[in-house]
Symmetry: D2
Subunit: 387 residues, 4 copies
């Protein structure tokens, strides 16, 4: 039940909250259902103002009750009831859509669960491993190549779920036309070796490489390297404990500030989310996801000649701020709070990571975090304006 | 020399800093010139890391020395020397460009000077007037009308100064093509009367109208109305002291959070900066600017049938985050820090205000502030997706 | 492992720390002993600078490892080893003294453990009971009486342990002479009923009753009643859950600020620690201690004619700041950090409480907390200058 | 009008507040008097809750109005009126007492004015001198000697003003008997040379020399030397600008934490306020006060054989917490807030300093500041328990 910082949540809370999502938004809408404990609405509501008041996020670590055993019993009870309802065909189309959303929601929390555990363990002076038996993959490195495109008008985003297409979040819709200028995209993410060059070249000591607020953050927090790196820049803390840094693996746990400063140092820039999506649209959603069981990014087993690692390994920061697509409509009702109300002072990340479920992402998927967030599995792929 | 908050600066500091800009970036580059006091580089450098270390911004109010008399003498000396250099034709093309920039820079600080004085006076329980003799204009109100446009590809931005065109900031360049979707734009900004309806309808008590961080801000800071309004929503503090609220005048001193919440309540949205610029491009830069001497927004003397008040009165929040245009290059050298390093967690405002110089703005002009900034003369114009 | 605020510690940490005390200060000094895990020195050192660096106190809640099972195993191992050493007579006189201190230390943590659990549970919206089966005692109330004494010179404090007397903390020594002026002491602590009168009379709204910093605290934190009282001033949260407030029981969970303001309202004052000790010196250490199993203060079963409840029920705030007695010497070595370094900005409390062990306190015992601490079982006994 | 920190006030505010004291507490009580501006009650009330609400202390620097000219006019008007009242014999005995208090009050602010100006100037990177023409005195150093006393019962404090004696603050009364144990007192304050030895010996790097909160402060604020010393420990910033450090002058601008740590390092302790007063009681109030015009402590022109520099030069921290004397009664009414409500978490200082008026202090005078305050002219005199 450890909560190592305000942005993270205890594992027990994740378990209860994802369960509550089904209970509150599905079961509570079915005839005759009585919630197990109405007080839990308060405890396990994350941020849905439409579902009533809620426990303060930074205080989730204080909830020593209900116990873990009670939460597991809650999960079992809700799961049983859900199974009954589904098998009985008792849920109407709207509720079936909420079930779909509940499953997507749980996948997001499965990723957060690993991300938050990693952070909590890193705060423990013992730096325990989450799993001692994680496999290690040392893939094949490759020199950076640029893949160019001409200016074009591109269809971006996803037709609106549930009416027009299979599941996608509301912030991916509507599908719309965007003029994407000529540009070039790196064939792979930036590697640990490249990032180490940035450090060795004084990257963290050179104010002019950084956004103004980024430089303030570097100084205030004493940043000198990515989160989870050892002080000699030779090892990295992973869900499998401390490991030697693999020079060919994608650099991970960067903030937007660091991704942006690195790009400036490299005389490149971050891609826009449109450039990224245009490139990803034709690719299979394939890569180092949580399903592979590595829980850490690595170079591909075989370097490819085209774009590689667009999906999996590390979320890729883009230079696109998280704003609404033209014609965006949040879902109706309380679930409309899912994405829209966070469109403020955050940046888009694309592609999923080594702790994302393979069937959770797609080319149009928009993840978002503020500029100083580092505990996510986030890296960087470079882009360039065309000559 | 009052500094009423971290974001504001003392008048004396504005005076010295704008003078220092000419001394440091122009005169210091001329042969044989010796700066009056090198220690002042530290005091009056605002944020140019390339020009050396600087006094902390929140501590500008601590500088009781140099005295105001010394600062005036400094201004006189630098002005004399500048005049000599200009009259002697001693400045090369590059330095003449910096002179141009220095003048633009000073216009920005002239606006900030009034904005900051207003804030400082509002923090004084005596709420003194900056000028007792300000004229009052009660213009002509008009019912809201929508002006529609079809989807089109639009040239946005300004050719790069100084090579390709007359002065514009680097963040307005390059001029580039953007696909602007079909939409409608309100013919005038939102009025005090309309905003009062929002308040009366519980706008500040309805969580679901607000961005998540906006709602937290409303609660943490106890916001219940725009900055400078009286508690009965009937009067407003201006540079001319307290005045009755004019129902037809544009509402002013809103944060982005408030502008956005109002738009949601009104079942509309904020315009993108591209929609705004497309509409403004063909208009004369004409309106209630500082030159008019009102120092407060008002309804136009005569309501028009087309778009009105695009320029002057109030800066208009857009839904566009402050990011780089495709192909953006900051100016070379230290002056490259002018705009680019602030492209993070801010929103674009357009059109200038009643404290902006008339010859300072243009259709492509991009102002930017973070979501919670209220002390600027900022209001809101609504937009809509086309049916 | 919940840590509900910086001042509190997780139960697991209390268990490990008190064990570590024996391991580090006793066993580690015996020949051939190897500590179970030297990394735990860092985790479970509380504040002994002489014993090396330590984990930050506010981050104790982050330690999800070692597990509770590991901590219990640690306790068992250390206890076994301690028993062996004691039975073998292997510890010299100095180490036997440290054993004595370790036992006293553990008693203090047993009290903190209950105090901290109560706070943690109170922060949980479910307000769970620590024990459902706690007995409830409604004792006999009595009207307040004053017990007067003439000016006298009094022996205060305890002869220094271990050389001169049985165990007492270093801050109780040396025993020394103090001139105590004429005064009167209340025969019992202030009751809930009396404190409710203070509230009803506007105590929390009357600035002039409060110390300056106390009034700032009242306003900043919105205090309107003692910690753990319900908003209608009719019930109180206890280790046995919510209970009706007993008008005759001592008021509990007051800060110094509240105790002091109440006394001013009552036209009395707090006693000095010398007045308190003089009165207590001749009394048996008898009362409602943790051994009674109530875990909550109550009126005595039979009201007495003399001083009552000097020991047990509630710690009693005194008007004496926590400073050194004349000739005070901290214990030698690292254990000298036990008490002396906290002699700053704290007040003395006397007498023990319903969660203190009966054999832990004595008339000379000096507890200490800062002015705003409320989570301790602290109340107030009034005193008066003699007419 | 600079306010360099929350604890300091602008010079203009000091001027207005001391004037307001006479207007509000004297003139406003006289028949027919109308205050110049009732709004100024709010601006210039410091902390008298009984005199109504007040402007927030940390925001005094925001008051650019009334102007300095207005404040001078205010002073002139109040002074004229006061003179008229005094010459006409129109004030009754009670109001004449308030006049006396007003004069004492103004002397305190005259000291603060210099203290606050020094701090403000030290925050200015130009470190301007307050006066360029201050004389420099290099007095005669002397080796430390101890002056011993036997245990005795001592009369401490001052008979209560105005009934029983000439002016003294309420916190100096009542005069009462205290048992002072045997002890020895240093014949002079600690010098810069001695304090430099403490630094050289690692004083600021040795945790075990410090109170717990003191050590936290040293680390949090990066203290390495007294306030106003240069980084090479060779010079000191004074009201006359930077000067070489005089090894024989009393060390100044220490916090209680530093005074206490130094004493521990020196194997001594701070005196109690009773030890100090007992020693001072028989001495003339004579020394380096503001009247001497040095505005900086120095060694005496001629070293004496007895106690020296008890008065003037530097305030001397004592080990006595600021608490009430037995039988203490605050003055009646609003002026009762003058001293009593600050008896919390502060330490007593004695003797006055080089910026105190000679006729302001006396042997019983109790100054008080919290443990981390350094901007006062505070130093340290050692004491010892008797062998």
């Amino acid at each position: 039940m450890v909560q190592s910082m305000e942005d993270a949540s205890p594992t027990k809370w994740h378990l209860a909250h994802t369960t509550w999502f089904f209970e509150r938004f599905v079961l509570a809408e079915t005839p005759g259902y009585e919630q197990l404990d109405r007080a839990w609405d308060y405890l396990f509501n994350s941020y849905y103002q439409g579902a009533g008041p809620m426990h303060a996020r930074p205080r989730r670590g204080v909830l020593s009750r209900p116990s873990l055993a009670q939460v597991f019993a809650y999960r079992a009870a809700v799961e049983t009831r859900m199974r009954e309802q589904l098998q009985a065909g008792a849920l109407d189309a709207r509720l079936l859509d909420v079930v779909e959303l509940g499953l997507q929601h749980e996948q997001q929390h499965q990723e957060l669960l690993l991300t938050d555990i990693k952070h909590a363990f890193s705060c423990n002076p013992l730096t325990p491993a989450y799993r001692e038996d994680l496999p290690r993959v040392h893939g094949e490195g490759s020199a950076l190549r640029w893949i160019s495109r001409q200016e074009s008008i591109v269809e971006i985003g996803h037709p609106a779920w549930p009416d027009q297409a299979a599941f996608a979040y509301d912030n991916e819709s509507p599908r719309h036309r965007v003029l994407v200028p000529a540009h070039a995209l790196a064939h792979r993410p930036v590697t640990n070796a490249e990032y180490r060059d940035f450090i060795a070249d004084g990257g963290y000591r050179t104010a002019t490489l950084w956004l103004s607020a980024g430089w303030e953050t570097v100084r205030a927090l004493g940043w000198q390297r990515p989160l989870y790196w050892s002080e000699d820049d030779a090892a990295v803390f992973t869900l499998g404990g401390w490991r030697d840094l693999d020079p060919d693996a994608p650099v991970c746990h960067l903030s937007y500030y660091e991704a942006d400063a690195f790009a400036r140092w490299a005389e490149a820039r971050l891609p826009t989310e449109f450039e990224w999506e245009q490139a990803a649209a034709s690719l299979a959603v394939d890569g180092n996801f949580v399903d592979a069981g590595h829980l850490h990014p690595h170079a591909p087993r075989t370097a490819s000649t085209g774009l590689q690692q667009m999906f999996g390994d590390v979320w890729e920061w883009t230079s696109s701020a998280y704003t609404a697509y033209p014609g965006y409509r949040p879902w109706p009702g309380t679930l409309g709070e899912y994405n829209g109300k966070f469109m403020d002072a955050q940046w888009i990340l694309r592609g999923g990571s080594c702790v994302t479920a393979a069937d959770h992402v797609r080319a149009s998927y928009r993840n978002f975090f503020p500029s100083d967030a580092r505990w996510q599995f986030a890296g960087v792929r470079l882009a360039k304006d065309s000559a």
